[in-house]
């Protein structure tokens, strides 16, 4: 199965965009721009995924990334009190060491990638990869998804516990009977 010439060209263009935007994340002078650059990088990779026939996963990659960037923007406005568009920044430490490390890792990975005798393709992709994925998820890889559900539960609980300084007893009283909740800021969001 092939992706054709056009697919190949677009694939490589996307690859270039992904890497350049990735690099830009740490070159631009504001956090907002960095966020956009990261989003573009992700969307490019998502598109690559799409090109390689994994439409479902490509789409969720793109969607997820957009959501995440939105959250990040909210976060910055909420907590960092900065105008995301204009704030100049240069917040690096150990720049040189980090660069050397990253370059070293890249060199090592590249060498490995180029020298390794990669095996041939084993089999062909399913005609309907999404359906195959679905079957795998409720079949051989079911346990993975079960655990992922537990992971998501844990994430919800953990993230809330960490992020919220005020718990239910602060709002509703020790017997949970106070109505309306005692919030410094009215509106029912617990702030």
């Amino acid at each position: 199965m092939s992706i054709g010439l056009l697919g190949t060209v677009v694939f490589w263009m996307l690859a270039v965009i992904a890497v350049l935007c990735g690099a830009a994340v740490f070159r631009v002078d504001s956090m907002a721009r960095a966020t956009y650059a990261l989003a573009v990088s992700f969307i490019a990779v998502g598109a690559q995924v799409l090109i390689l026939g994994l439409s479902y996963i490509g789409v969720i990659t793109v969607l997820m990334m957009i959501m995440e960037m939105a959250i990040m923007a909210v976060y910055m406005i909420m907590f960092m009190g900065m105008n995301p568009a204009l704030m100049p920044m240069n917040m690096v430490h150990g720049n040189k060491a980090a660069a050397v490390t990253a370059a070293g890792v890249f060199a090592a990975l590249a060498t490995g990638i180029l020298l390794a005798p990669w095996p041939d393709r084993a089999g062909v992709p399913d005609p309907d990869p999404t359906a195959a994925l679905g079957e795998a998820l409720i079949g051989s890889k079911m346990l993975v998804m079960i655990v992922v559900s537990a992971v998501l539960l844990a994430t919800v609980v953990a993230a809330l516990v960490l992020a919220l300084p005020r718990g239910r007893y602060d709002r509703f009283g020790d017997d949970l009977r106070r109505r309306p909740p005692a919030d410094p800021q009215p509106g029912g969001v617990g702030r």
Partner: protein
């Protein structure tokens, strides 16, 4: 177009992300670096799927990677919030009470 070339791109993304993760001071920026690394991993996973093992398992791998990314980022925001609230700072360098 070969697996090597795609993996090289992935490696590039991964390395750029690593650079960011190691060099940035602001927690959110570090997280961006981590995300870029995951981006590279996603690309690598796709490459593996396409060129090496076009099986459903490889797709599940991708799914798990994306789930991991999401979950880690959620926790990252939570931790950053906590740090911000408790220390009024979100700079990694300013949190140096614990050392030795």
């Amino acid at each position: 177009m070969t697996v090597q070339l795609v993996l090289l791109v992935a490696a590039a993304l991964f390395s750029v992300g690593l650079y960011g993760a190691l060099s940035q001071q602001v927690v959110v920026m570090v997280m961006m670096g981590l995300e870029l690394m995951i981006n590279g991993v996603i690309l690598a996973a796709v490459a593996c799927y396409w060129f090496l093992t076009p099986t459903p398992t490889a797709q599940v791998v991708l799914l798990v990677v994306i789930a991991a990314m999401t979950v880690e980022m959620a926790m990252g925001f939570a931790v950053a919030t906590l740090l911000h609230r408790s220390r009024n700072s979100d700079m990694t360098d300013m949190a140096t009470d614990l050392s030795g």
